[in-house]
Symmetry: C2
């Protein structure tokens, strides 16, 4: 059979499996995820051997690809944590009566079939499988070629876990080839069997998916996060938050990439923050005004605004006041996460209302932009588009709804 | 300027207007919609003259296109009804605390910029404008060429209404040309400025949009609605519901196109229903079993199952029991609206849970599938896809969300 025919068959099988998941009960889905974790532990040697082959053949970032005993245990534990999450399905998110006596409920249901396209992190295969099964969605995984052997081995454990719980193994399928045409076929929707594509990887992957997909995309493009220090900011709090927002981990999407400081408070706020960041190895690139206020700031280039450094580099700019900060974020942000540090309630609430990002934060680090930190238990990604689901997406956000109308013989006049 | 440049400029202007709508208050948006209604009434003669030109030039369905004094008054009244709806923005749809003291709220916000592509019904221009403005979304209208003069005249009233309330007229724009390339440009997203495309028209339009769109689509493909009579159905209720579901209006998407009847009860239920439908001019096309039970059923062809007749024609089939009915609907339905008539609770609840349609109904007519009947006040369409917003879409459903995180200095460990 051709790749095309193979992929179309995967779509049909996924749609059928989605029906079985949707109509099955929550306990069975949880049991399947727990069985996946047990299978991952039982197949540790096999997974590590496959991963060693991937690492030996790798050309890119090996750290993200490499598994060891500790990472496999973390992966299994993460599966168990998802198994323990509350069932997101069947909840009535609204219910009301109509004057004619009809009773209408809006009930959470699975989306259907997810296409998950990711790059070189094998743990994404397990995380995505667990979140999809927890939320009743079938999924077709497409691993980057770098991680394919590892992901096939992990998928063996996932499939065995599903079968152990009496669910179809086809609820989680994996594209078994590195053939790049498989991505194009997934993006075409496999004859209407894919409801949602989730890309997880670099900007080039996400842009390709958004350009070519014929179905809905839950896309995370960039995390160009800003932290803005209002003139009312408490200096000690501002220092703690900025250092954490930039330096806790510089490679994650919630890391702050640009610091904005009110002109009135900059001489007071900025020097100790710059000193603290430099002491931790952070490079600062600022506008002329910030450079005149604090020592050790390099001149920023035009391309340093709205840039996702993902590194210990921070752009710094002095702004006139709240309105200028909001406008700057609108022009240079990516709609991911932006924060204000302010003691003044009115300014803070206006920032929270007017900044059009998936997550807006007052007096806390942008690095809290994470499904786990939100209490979602796990996340399959953070969506930076405007359509729902927006922001961190865990099992509850990976659902849709249906309307259930209960009558007693009503006909429409 | 070229059409391409003109359209890209419309996108930029729409994005700016969306910002103004998003940050404005609800009373201003309501006032703008009321002012649109007043402008529609004041410009009645101008709108009717433009419409007369459209009608004179029309080649297609003239009834949908034609306006008269009564229809213009209805259109204005519909605008006022939307102005009176509760504000869908700013609602906290969830709020919770985290162990570290962070307070997280999920708040309803506008989606952003909508591209509305419709065919020959001029009232859609007004309805869409009102629903978008009510929900804080900017919109670019693209009318079918048949209705373009009428829609331009209505748009004049809309723009004047926006300005009267102090909102930018560019919150509602209309593509001023019948050039078909404009549709392709809208579907390309106008440089990332369109967040959602809503097609409203025939199947060919919707299919083109779903094939070509590079952004999210809220699509209504077909309404292939089933009514299933369980063996426990009350015969009188079944008759009333089936006659209404098929015959109240045969051209709407919520009209029942196929009747399924349990074998055990078919000899009792079917003959009076067939007689009542025939007496009202309905043609019945059935399988052999139904034809043996009731008089006057023509033989159904294979293509009569899963067919959207939009006419006084009903397909009829006898099924073994509930499971067969659910499987038949899964195979032949369009995920729009499907109903069961049943006195037995267990069977009804299983149908409501397992049928994977946007709307599932017990003991009522499928013709209730309508935003107005749901109490949404108005609808911009009914979405038959699986992603949210699914089903009838009114102002409240035309929103997204953001997360507002309030802290007191928290940094992430």
């Amino acid at each position: 059979m051709s790749l095309h025919d193979d992929m179309m068959a995967m779509g049909r099988v996924a749609r059928a499996a989605a029906g079985a998941l949707r109509c099955g009960d929550a306990a069975t889905r949880s049991a399947a995820i727990r069985a996946m974790a047990a299978q991952v532990r039982a197949r540790r040697a096999e997974i590590l051997a496959a991963n060693a082959e991937d690492v030996a053949a790798a050309t890119g970032l090996i750290d993200r690809l490499r598994l060891d005993e500790g990472r496999i245990e973390s992966l299994a534990a993460a599966l168990e944590a998802v198994a323990d999450l509350p069932d997101p399905l069947g909840r009535e998110t609204a219910r009301w009566g109509r004057p004619n006596g009809l009773d209408i409920a809006r009930v959470a249901v699975p989306i259907g079939v997810i296409g998950m396209i990711f790059e070189s992190r094998p743990n994404v295969a397990a995380d995505a499988a667990a979140i999809c099964v927890r939320s009743g969605n079938a999924v077709i995984l497409r691993s980057g070629s770098d991680a394919l052997r590892s992901c096939l081995a992990i998928h063996g454990a996932i499939a065995a876990g599903l079968e152990a719980a009496g669910l179809p193994a086809s609820a989680v399928q994996i594209v078994p080839t590195a053939d790049r045409d498989a991505v194009g076929l997934l993006l075409g929707g496999l004859g209407g069997t894919i409801d949602l594509i989730i890309p997880r990887g670099g900007k080039a992957l996400v842009e390709r998916v958004q350009r070519e997909a014929r179905v809905a995309v839950l896309g995370h493009l960039e995390g160009i996060c800003h932290t803005y220090l209002h003139e009312s900011a408490d200096p000690a709090m501002a220092l703690d938050i900025v250092v954490n927002a930039k330096m806790r981990r510089t490679s994650i999407c919630g890391a702050t990439e640009c610091l904005l400081v009110d002109r009135a408070a900059a001489p007071n706020l900025l020097p100790p923050i710059v000193a603290a960041l430099r002491a931790r190895g952070c490079v600062l690139r600022g506008d002329e005004e910030s450079r005149a206020i604090a020592d050790g700031i390099e001149p920023a280039g035009d391309d340093d605004w709205g840039r996702e450094f993902l590194a210990p580099i921070l752009a710094v700019k002095v702004v006139g006041a709240l309105d200028e900060a909001i406008a700057f974020i609108a022009a240079h942000g990516s709609g991911h996460t932006d924060a204000i540090v302010a003691a003044a309630d009115a300014a803070a609430e206006r920032f929270l209302a007017e900044v059009d990002s998936a997550i807006v934060v007052r007096n806390a680090s942008t690095q809290f932009a994470d499904g786990g930190e939100f209490g979602f238990g796990a996340e399959i990604g953070i969506a930076t588009g405007r359509m729902p689901p927006r922001g961190p997406v865990g099992p509850e956000q990976l659902t849709s709804w249906k309307y259930v109308v209960r009558g007693s013989g009503q006909t429409r006049p």
